[in-house]
């Protein structure tokens, strides 16, 4: 932990590489014991001993000695040395402290500093020098460095080549998930009648809710009934589940079951489908309680048929609306940055975040950040989604998201809209089902894209902390989980690809699939595979206002009146065109009325007046206290869109605020929330029975930090280990100067500082 205390002398000091002589022999027996922990199906490909993992660039005193192995799943550094300075405060059960999954590796650089050579290693490449150093650039922004000064040069080289080879497989089936699942099938075949054990079952495993308490299953939308239930949950009359894509007969990038307007017959759909790119006909996503539906579809490539089909589809959607409202079409390709631009922005952002030296990027930080355009794009997504919320909620229009293939931008916009509109998707289970519905099943090409993912949600979380059941930590580990090639969830471009590839694999490995459609990969939603129950409690947002909790109704009524007053006075200065749309808006709150539509504007045309209507809607909305169980809208002004610091700065030691960061308030609130839980349990016990019984229950808590937890001897203090990086730690993950534990003034270089011995009298 970074403090002003001098580093503890208990660490073994490796200031200089130990002399070549006996040291090696002495440490040999110790290193021999270092064995990797392997998963079923995981094999060690190569290994090298006497490797030094670098913790800091300017000193080797914190470096760790150990063995570096490359398996078909990860690179693993095994050491007996304790982690210096600062630990992680959660552990991934699949990975050791120093492990990197192969699918998380972005680039491999080998260095020979004697020959002053450096090479980026691709797969199947040769290396003409013996590396003295290996630098791994990870997709999650980490940079890990190993030194081979004391290792056998040949084995060092072999490990580097092995890592390069295995981390850049040419065939999907070489990904570890296949081997792992294959092994599981074989094992279980020997045991119980071919039913794979554990993993939560289900095609990819349903998995439990994240937390200790909630055991709701995440709907995966692989079955007819999941879709049917979603239709019923949202009260979407006029829509039906359609099975024409069973066995992927129509489209290989659509789910087997899709929801379509009831008025469209299977036969028509089959015909229409040919006109759509990728045969991706309209897919229902969600319906508002006012009947407006959110639909996504690909472009109609058949120019001659375009108008006709478009008309038919729109009519059908209108028919499915209880008020027969019009359809609002949003052409995402025209309104949003394309995926290449988003990708480029992300690459720039990453460079900026890990750039060294830290101070060099300080001076121009803001403009550099702007130049990445990342925040601009995040803002564009949020803003456009909020505008569509207006269409659905206030204008009662059904919205169709149109995009060439309908499987990139649509995923993001469709899920953002739903997160804003439907509180269910702000619960952990709901959010997971949303990702299943709008990303996994809708054919987001995780395999090809695997880079940018629904990070906009984080903005909403930051702005409405009480509206979400999950925490920032949850999003960070979810983001990390896309880089672990064990879970089927984020591995494929489409559900069809999973079935096809895994069936091939099963045949080649002689695995009996029986009635199953492809192999069942573990699901990322089964969080117990990765984290202990205790660590999973960190996913819970203590700010979350559950449905049962009474909330601030009184306050909101009062302020509503106030709004109404000042509201009408704002009308005065408005151009008269504006007044039309909003006459009696405030009368029917919270359900806004449909009179708005009277001077029916052409919904397909984005006119100026409509823009200001949207603006008016936003203004109105923000002038009222948010009902966190209703619609929430993000503030999309440039001053409100901020970088996701936990995710992007967690490895940067210079940016770490020790004893600070929002986690300290999170901690404080967790304690209180836990206390309230304990009290309410006691109260229940007290009512029902003898006093003693309640102590038995006190142990379980839904909070990571609890009033009587192990971290907590003194109830009120902020624990020493909290920092803005928590539960992560920058130590050894970016390989920067050893600023942790060194005197503060050493790394204060933002200001140009001159030390001087001038005396007082010379001044003034």
């Amino acid at each position: 932990m970074f403090s002003l205390k001098p580093p503890k002398p208990t660490f073994r000091s490796y200031l200089l590489p130990p002399p070549q002589t006996d040291d090696k022999i002495n440490s040999e027996p110790k290193i021999k014991k270092l064995e990797p922990v392997l998963l079923p199906g995981e094999i060690v490909v190569n290994e090298v001993n006497f490797v030094r993992k670098c913790i800091a660039t300017d000193t080797s005193q914190y470096d760790l000695w150990g063995k570096l192995i490359c398996s078909n799943f990860k690179i693993s550094f095994i050491t007996d040395d304790p982690m210096p300075l600062q630990k992680f405060h959660y552990r991934n059960l699949l990975l050791g402290e120093h492990d990197v999954p192969l699918t998380c590796i972005e680039q491999i650089v080998t260095v020979n500093d004697h020959k002053r050579k450096q090479k980026v290693l691709g797969p199947n490449q040769k290396l003409k020098f013996n590396p003295t150093e290996l630098i791994i650039y990870c997709k999650d922004f980490r940079i890990v460095r190993f030194r081979f000064d004391e290792s056998g040069p040949e084995s060092a080289k072999k490990v580097c080549l092995a890592i390069a080879h295995y981390s850049q497989p040419t065939d999907l089936q070489l990904l570890f998930a296949f081997e792992y699942v294959g092994k599981k099938y074989h094992n279980s075949a020997n045991k119980i009648n071919g039913i794979p054990s554990g993993d939560g079952g289900g095609g990819g495993g349903g998995g439990n809710g994240a937390g200790g308490g909630s055991s709701q299953k995440t709907p995966l939308f692989e079955t007819y009934s999941d879709w049917d239930r979603e239709i019923k949950r949202t009260g979407a009359s006029g829509w039906r589940v359609c099975s024409i894509n069973e066995g992927y007969m129509i489209s290989t990038c659509l789910p087997e079951y899709i929801v379509v307007p009831s008025s469209l017959a299977d036969q028509d759909l089959k015909i229409f489908s040919h006109s759509f790119v990728g045969r991706r006909m309209p897919l229902w996503c969600w319906s508002h309680s006012n009947g407006s539906a959110l639909v996504r579809m690909a472009l109609i490539k058949d120019v001659l048929q375009q108008r006709k089909i478009d008309q038919r589809i729109c009519n059908a959607i209108t028919k499915s609306h209880p008020q027969r409202s019009d359809v609002y079409k949003s052409d995402l390709d025209k309104t949003l940055p394309n995926i290449q631009e988003v990708q480029a922005a992300f690459v720039k952002l990453k460079q900026l975040c890990v750039n060294e030296p830290f101070e060099e990027t300080e001076e121009k930080w803001l403009s550099s950040l702007e130049n990445t355009r990342w925040l601009e794009y995040v803002r564009a997504f949020l803003k456009h989604s909020a505008e569509l919320v207006y269409m659905l909620e206030s204008k009662h229009l059904s919205v169709v998201l149109q995009e060439e293939e309908g499987r990139d931008l649509s995923c993001c916009v469709a899920s953002l809209v739903q997160v804003m509109l439907d509180p269910y998707f702000r619960t952990i289970t709901g959010f997971q089902s949303l990702i299943q519905k709008e990303w996994v099943m809708a054919g987001y090409q995780f395999l090809d894209r695997c880079n940018h993912l629904k990070r906009s949600e984080k903005e909403l979380l930051e702005q409405y902390p009480a509206a979400f059941e999950f925490s920032e930590t949850y999003l960070a580990v979810l983001y990390d989980s896309t880089r672990i090639s064990l879970f089927g969830t984020f591995l494929f471009n489409s559900p069809h690809q999973r079935v096809k590839q895994s069936t091939e694999f099963a045949i080649s490995k002689n695995i009996q699939l029986g009635d199953e459609k492809g192999l069942k990969f573990p699901s990322v939603w089964d969080w117990s595979l990765q984290f202990t129950a205790k660590d999973r409690t960190l996913f819970h947002n203590p700010f979350y206002i559950g449905k049962s909790t009474p909330c601030i109704q009184n306050g909101s009524v009062k302020s509503f009146k106030r709004t109404k007053k000042s509201y009408s006075s704002t009308l005065r200065g408005m151009p008269s065109a504006l007044k039309n749309g909003i006459i009696s808006d405030q009368e029917l709150l919270p359900r806004r009325n449909s009179l708005i539509l009277k001077p029916k504007p052409d919904p397909a045309q984005q006119t100026d007046s409509q823009n200001s209507d949207t603006e008016q809607y936003f203004r109105e909305w923000f002038s009222k206290p948010a009902n966190l169980h209703g619609v929430i809208l993000p503030r999309v002004s440039g001053t409100h869109i901020k970088l996701w610091k936990l995710c992007y700065f967690r490895w940067v030691p210079e940016a770490q605020i020790s004893l600070g960061g929002s986690i300290t308030a999170f901690h404080k609130l967790s304690l209180l929330a836990d206390e309230v839980d304990v009290l309410s349990r006691m109260l229940r016990q007290q009512r029902s029975g003898p006093l003693e019984a309640c102590y038995g229950e006190l142990g379980q808590s839904r909070m990571y930090f609890n009033a009587s937890g192990p971290h907590h001897t003194d109830t009120s203090g902020t624990p020493e280990f909290l920092s803005s990086s928590f539960p992560f730690s920058p130590v050894g993950n970016l390989c920067r100067r050893s600023i942790l534990g060194t005197p503060l003034s050493k790394f204060l270089s933002g200001a140009k500082i001159w030390l001087s011995t001038e005396t007082l009298a010379n001044e003034d």
Binding site: A665, M682, D764
Partner: protein, 540 residues
């Protein structure tokens, strides 16, 4: 009460507590029912105007000018109060348009304020109404130029707490363990004859005799001898001290920088290139340099190797910033409400930060080169720290905003004058009310619910552009589109949970009482739930 409806236009935190009090007491409820007034506040004039609101367009209203502030009440709707601006915030009043001006609303007044906004009023061309308003505003906004007293001397507000007693130098030095064998208290400046901008009571190195001090004083700018700011464990007198100079720009650069900030946030926020525009103001960069300097000072002091002598060319701009920020980092006492008041009172007010010159209280010379937002910059740094350490400060954002509001308002004597001797001459503590009286008699409103009291914890903020943010709720608070949610939902949630906890405890107590009455022999049964629950916390 009319003030209830102001929020949309006016998130101004110049609270109306005392106003409510007076109207409740029935005092001052005379003919001019139209606007709330403080005791001692008198109505000078009222006029029909059009207020050109940059966010909501022109509003027809009646403006009321008192000897303390300007009110605007809308004439069109339900006569809600739209503006409530202390005249002290006005830095400049300009006439716009002439007798021949054509076009709607082109004839009137344009008022530049010190708190990041401008006010525009359109008036009728006939009837001298503009001339009247201009003259009255000029007279009462700049009383010093018209031999009028500042409003603080007319203010007759009464509070049940006396803010002037918050800071007692001897007591505060004692809290820090002073005097000791390294530092001594001297009364050499008792009548301000050694240095008229220093306080009467000083702590100086033990071995420096009063004669030495007199000699040193002649070399120093305005006779400002070195004296203790923090006064932490220190070894020798300052010949072992290490000197370092920080590359922080002068007060003129700061003033220009703040102007640029206003340009990009008022009335419209520069949206398209927000971050680079913000960068080009250099405001956050200056904040960063000040924080960096303070971290260095704090680090030097806490490492125990050297005492720190902080100085700038004229004593008490940069110096006050650095010492007080370093003290906030090192000593948790100053992170409490009262501690912070003492800090401001000591390091800024008592040691002679030139508030009168830097703010220009009651002075019409808006181009005065002595003006500079040095104190604002300090409060901004404190805000940045409170963002990085959300549980470390007892006070909330509103506390900082109200301090800044009354930095300009001239309603309290706290920030008037340049130094202690001038304040003494004007008998400020007898004739005016202290801002701390207002705040301390209504403390709950300024408390941070997440505050966790920690003794002896040194907190270093990260002075990096990656963490520094523009203080939107202060600099852009006039813009209703940017304003952030109030109250803060997280704080609100916390308060709800607190209430829930208290209710559970109460119910448990009741149940236990009932149970113990029923059971005949519960000898070990705890008498109260807080005993049974080892970790029931007492917040606040």
């Amino acid at each position: 009460m009319a003030s209830a409806s102001t929020s949309k236009y006016n998130s101004h935190s110049l609270e109306n507590e005392s106003i409510k009090r007076t109207s409740r007491d029935g005092v001052n409820r005379d003919l001019t029912e139209a606007v709330p007034r403080l005791p001692g506040e008198t109505l000078i004039t009222d006029k029909e105007v059009i207020y050109i609101c940059p966010f909501n367009g022109p509003i027809k209203g009646r403006v009321y000018i008192t000897n303390y502030r300007l009110y605007l009440r809308s004439l069109e709707t339900d006569s809600s109060l739209i503006l409530d601006v202390p005249l002290g915030v006005i830095s400049r009043i300009e006439k716009m348009g002439g007798a021949t001006s054509r076009g709607e609303n082109s004839y009137g007044l344009d008022i530049t304020c010190k708190d990041m906004r401008n006010l525009r009023f359109a008036l009728k061309q006939e009837g001298h109404s503009r001339r009247d308003m201009f003259e009255i505003l000029t007279r009462y906004a700049f009383p010093l130029a018209h031999s009028l007293p500042l409003f603080a001397f007319l203010n007759e507000e009464k509070f049940n707490v006396d803010g002037w007693t918050v800071y007692n130098p001897v007591e505060e030095y004692r809290r820090q363990g002073l005097p000791n064998h390294h530092w001594r208290i001297t009364f050499i400046n008792k009548c301000y004859e050694l240095c008229d901008t220093y306080p009467a009571l000083l702590v100086v190195p033990y071995r420096a005799s009063d004669d030495d001090l007199r000699r040193v004083a002649t070399f120093r700018s305005r006779n400002r001898i070195p004296a203790t700011g923090g006064g932490y464990e220190s070894d020798d007198a300052y010949h072992n001290a290490e000197l370092f100079f920080l590359d922080i720009h002068n007060i003129h650069v700061m003033r220009e920088s703040l102007k640029k900030v206003k340009d990009i946030v008022y009335p419209n926020v520069e949206e398209s290139h927000w971050l680079s525009s913000l960068e080009s103001t250099h405001w956050l960069e200056h904040i960063k340099l000040v924080l960096t300097g303070a971290i260095q000072v704090a680090d030097k002091v806490s490492s125990g190797k050297s005492s720190v002598l902080v100085h700038c060319s004229d004593g008490w701009d940069r110096t006050a910033q650095l010492t007080s920020l370093a003290m906030l980092m090192l000593d948790s006492f100053y992170r409490s409400i009262e501690g912070f008041e003492i800090l401001v009172q000591k390091e800024w007010i008592s040691f002679g930060h030139k508030f009168a010159s830097r703010i220009g209280h009651g002075d019409k010379n808006h181009t005065d080169a002595d003006r500079s937002p040095i104190f604002l910059q300090f409060i901004d740094c404190v805000w940045q720290m409170s963002k990085q350490f959300p549980t470390a400060f007892e006070f909330n954002e509103q506390f900082l905003i109200i301090i800044l509001d009354h930095l300009y308002s001239c309603r309290f004597g706290t920030f008037l004058f340049n130094c202690e001797s001038a304040r003494e001459r004007q008998k400020v503590t007898e004739r005016t009310v202290s801002l701390w009286s207002l705040i301390n008699s209504n403390k709950e409103k300024f408390k941070n619910p997440f505050y966790t009291k920690e003794i002896n914890r040194v907190l270093y903020p990260v002075a990096s552009m990656r963490h520094l943010e523009l203080w939107v709720n202060y600099y852009i608070r006039w813009n209703p589109r940017i304003k952030q949610q109030q109250p803060n939902p997280v704080e609100q949630r916390y308060m709800e949970l607190l209430a829930l906890r208290d209710e559970y405890i109460k119910r448990l107590e009741e149940l236990q009482l009932a149970n113990s009455a029923k059971l005949s022999d519960p000898p070990t049964s705890p008498s109260s739930p807080s005993q049974m629950m080892p970790h029931v916390q007492t917040h606040f």
